[in-house]
């Protein structure tokens, strides 16, 4: 049994990439991801990780190097955050198109403006549609485990797509937690060496990334969509295998006290632990409230979500990103659309909270639930609303 150590979650993320025997790391430091990259450069400099560390001049270059090194057959890792992720945007689409199984940690942080180094999900929600598998960690242990899992899924010949593992900046990245750290040899039993299926190699030249004329572009897109949708079963299977090896079980969707719940609160990321406390307190007060959280966000776990929602009358969705001029936060609009047309279509209400590091308290969760119940009784409510915003 591996021993538990008290470690900063950022460092645990680097240790996970190290235990996975990463070949290439290309990254540019950005708050709050900095400690991850800093520690990886230490691990490489100290000879603990036999990898090429490429100190690039921007995130655009970081992702470009990652695509190149992965195309050359190297196991590739990077990490970024916020503006850095936004600067990668252009290359993010290319990674799945070239089938490069890069693993990237995103320490979620608000996007400018105003400039904010603090946590929310606006960075990742702006990259929903780039064709990467996306998972969200709730705690430090999950960060470590999801990174190991990510390599296994990404490199599966049936998948060969890049993965982003999301963790909340500061509120998760900078806390010290007790984590069971798997050693490289323990990881090896689960994660086999990467066998690339298409390699850039002068001995057998191929052209990667050629132009897609109208006669082929649609088919290229269709293929990535099919692969991403199809990756769900590999994601789930890899979690089952993970449980067999290390005893920790993960599923696409996590639920808490859903049995007999009238109202369900939907969250993502580390704030779910506060939400659990809120749920416990509400049950104590006689309110029947359950909690649902997405661990897997791309591909969207539609069947699992609909199954979990069976019998639920009211759903309160919390978003940590705003979609200017839209119909509500990105999670809300998507979740509501996932439930549209289902037999027992619940009433869904959206709440935007915790932007740019604003604390989300137990009271706020209670406020969202109470509002959702009130709107449901009335049969109508605002399309969505912001929680904890000062008017004057």
């Amino acid at each position: 049994m591996p021993k538990r150590v008290g470690i900063e979650v950022s460092l645990a993320a680097s240790e996970a990439a190290c235990a996975a025997d990463t070949d290439v790391v290309a990254a540019y430091p950005i708050t709050p991801q900095t400690h991850i990259v800093e520690h990886l450069s230490e691990l490489v400099a100290d000879g603990k990780l036999d990898a090429e560390f490429v100190p690039v001049e921007s995130e655009h270059s970081a992702m470009s190097v990652c695509v190149g090194s992965s195309a050359a057959g190297a196991r590739t890792f990077t990490a970024t955050s916020s503006q850095g992720l936004a600067l990668m945007h252009e290359i993010l689409f290319i990674a799945p198109a070239l089938r490069t199984p890069i693993v990237m940690v995103v320490a979620n942080r608000a996007l400018s403006g105003p400039i904010s180094i603090w946590n929310d999900h606006s960075d990742i929600m702006a990259e929903r549609d780039v064709g990467w598998i996306q998972t969200f960690a709730e705690n430090g242990q999950e960060v470590f485990d999801l990174i190991i899992h990510a390599f296994r899924v990404a490199e599966d010949p049936e998948v060969l797509l890049p993965i982003m593992v999301n963790l909340d900046g500061f509120t998760l990245s900078h806390v010290i937690e007790p984590i069971e750290m798997l050693s490289a040899s323990e990881v090896k039993r689960y994660l086999k060496p990467y066998k690339p299926q298409m390699v850039l190699d002068p001995k057998k030249p191929v052209t990667m990334g050629p132009v897609g004329m109208p006669e082929v572009y649609t088919e290229a897109k269709r293929q990535i969509e099919a692969l991403l949708q199809g990756s769900k079963k590999v994601v789930v299977k890899a979690w089952k295998e993970f449980a067999k090896h290390y005893g920790r079980t993960y599923k696409p969707i996590e639920t808490y006290r859903m049995k007999g719940a009238e109202v369900v609160l939907l969250t993502m990321g580390s704030v779910s632990e506060t939400a659990m406390t809120a749920v416990d307190r509400m049950w104590d007060k006689g309110m029947r409230v359950g909690l649902l959280r997405f661990r897997l966000w791309r591909p969207f776990p539609l069947q699992e979500f609909r199954r979990a929602m069976r019998g639920v009358k009211v759903l309160a969705v919390m978003d940590r990103a705003i979609s200017y001029g839209g119909l509500g936060g990105p999670v809300f609009t998507e979740v509501r659309s996932a439930l549209y047309g289902t037999f027992e279509q619940p009433q869904v209400f959206g709440f935007v909270a915790g932007l740019g590091g604003r604390d989300i308290t137990v009271d706020m969760f209670e406020e969202m639930v109470k509002k959702a119940i009130r709107y449901a009784k009335r049969g109508k409510g605002p399309t969505y609303e912001m929680i904890g915003v000062r008017e004057r």
């Binding site: 089938r99 990667m208 082929v216």
Partner: protein, 97 residues
């Protein structure tokens, strides 16, 4: 079913749409959407080879006689050869005329 002008089914695409066979650009007939074509007046031509050098699609090839042969499969009708010819020996004429 509506007519689809796709050249390959999505299930059959190479990994990452990679091109694994060398020289495949020959298969791309860049000349099939041309609206104008260059016509050389060999009476004016001094065999300087400017058209051959400047053509972006390597459409001209040298002949033993010193003149240059034009290949309509790949000429996209850009007019660069006509523009560069020092003797104005090349005229662009509208396709179909």
């Amino acid at each position: 079913m509506a007519k689809v002008d796709a050249i390959i089914g999505w299930r059959n695409l190479e990994i990452g749409c990679a091109i694994t066979e060398p020289g495949s650009s020959r298969k791309l007939r860049t000349g099939d959407w041309r609206s104008q074509r260059p016509v050389t007046d060999r009476k004016k031509c001094i065999k300087c080879g400017m058209c051959w050098i400047f053509c972006p699609d390597i459409v001209y090839s040298p002949l033993r006689s010193g003149f240059y042969k034009w290949d309509g499969e790949y000429c996209k009708g850009c007019g660069i050869c006509a523009h560069e010819c020092p003797k104005d020996a090349i005229t662009m004429v509208t396709e179909g005329d």
